[in-house]
């Protein structure tokens, strides 16, 4: 299944400045694993030391938060978009 992963500005330095990447994956967890294997420096920004997704980084499949789906086991289908949306605080 070809799915698109949207990379936020803050994490683009770790994906060779790419705003989105495409992978084959059947679940969100698989897609993120492929992503963090391909771009190793991204790992610590998405996962904590226990291998859990960090609580200031949300993952969406299309417009839905995976916390309200099957989390990392959420199945994805061809054409789905996974978005990584980290917390940002700038305002001045």
């Amino acid at each position: 299944m070809a799915i698109k992963l949207e990379i936020p500005t803050a994490l683009r330095p770790f994906t060779g400045k790419q705003a989105s990447v495409e992978f084959e994956a059947a679940t969100v967890g698989e897609a993120l694993k492929t992503l963090t294997t391909t771009y190793g420096d991204l790992r610590k920004h998405l996962y904590n030391d226990d291998g859990k997704l960090r609580s200031f980084v949300n993952i969406y499949v299309n417009d839905e938060d995976i916390r309200y789906l099957e989390k990392e086991n959420t199945a994805i289908k061809d054409g789905d978009t996974i978005s990584i949306v980290p917390s940002i605080a700038g305002g001045r």
């Binding site: 705003a19 920004h45 960090r54 949300n58 417009d63 978005s83 940002i88 001045r92």
Partner: protein
Amino acid sequence: MPIVTGTTAVPDVERKLSKEEIQRYSRHLIMPEVGMEGQLKLAKAKVLMIGAGGLGAPLGLYLAAAGVGRLGIVDFDVVDFTNLQRQITFSTRDVGRPKIEAAKERLAGMNPTIRIDTYETRLTSDNALELFRDYDIIVDGTDNFPTRYLVNDACVLLDKPNVYGSIFRFEGQVTVFHYPGGPCYRCLYPEPPPPGLVPSCAEGGVLGVLPGIVGALQAMETIKLILGIGEPLAGRLLLFDALAMRFRELRLRKNPDCPVCGDHRTINKLIDYEEFCGIRGEEVVPDMAGIPEITPRDLKARLDKGDDLFILDVREPHEYQICNLNGHLIPLGELPARVSELDSAREIVAHCRSGVRSGKAVEFLQQAGFRKIWNLKGGILAWSDEVDPSVPKY
């Protein structure tokens, strides 16, 4: 559920628009969605803006222009030259003035019919509830995680909507938190990132127009809430990507386990937000213990003596173009791969903008076996302050 309740001091019937006000708000009044009724709602509304910076600039201008009857502004900062690229409420002659003073003057000049209350203070757990209590809507235009969690919790505790906007480089997020029954900031992000992981605008930069767009969106949502028209941006997170010029919308759900607005609340009063965000006191600067340092003055003295010092600049090429000390440029990220360009027999002074990145470079080079290496204390900013003021600061 009405967001704006009329003030008790001025009953609804007594507030009438003057002839001058009718002219001023003519373009509102001729729209049935606003009309006289809507304009009077605006006149009676009380909105508190947290921050008079990048987001606060368009916010303040539009809310004042629209005739929001009482506008509160909380900020403790002073206008500086780096603000002028985006904070369009300020003029060059305002540099050095308190932001709230310059903002009040500008907004009152534009609309003398509204009341502007300024609070020159840092928003804290001790003053937030008292400050918020008088207002109907809180608009969050701050620039740091502790204040954002503080604003959120105070809004939930007092049951007030929080019109939220945040920006990073080319990207913005906008939503209305704690709209009656809706999700709050903690529902979206239960915890902040650890300090240092996400760069601030000061470190990461921001395109000047971005806060203009995001702040204007916040102003629009605020005015819609006051008028009670349209569909509020609640339960939806609007993402804006300026480079792609694309708006996207994500679903934002109320978290039943949210510690502040969920079913089993564990936060019933304001907490220590610096501690919650892992920041204690002023110790945001990474630990420099064990890293040998040289002050700009000492470096200058040694260079003047003709000592053979190798200056290593670990900033990025675009920063080198702004100003440099004629050093050898190897960005921090490339250092491991380019360490062979350095001669460990020579004395090396590493520098960056403020001394943090070069501290990491010195640490790395020490581990790689370099012994005669120093970090320039305070970076090129300190060099400009203490040695050569002709070097521009950025």
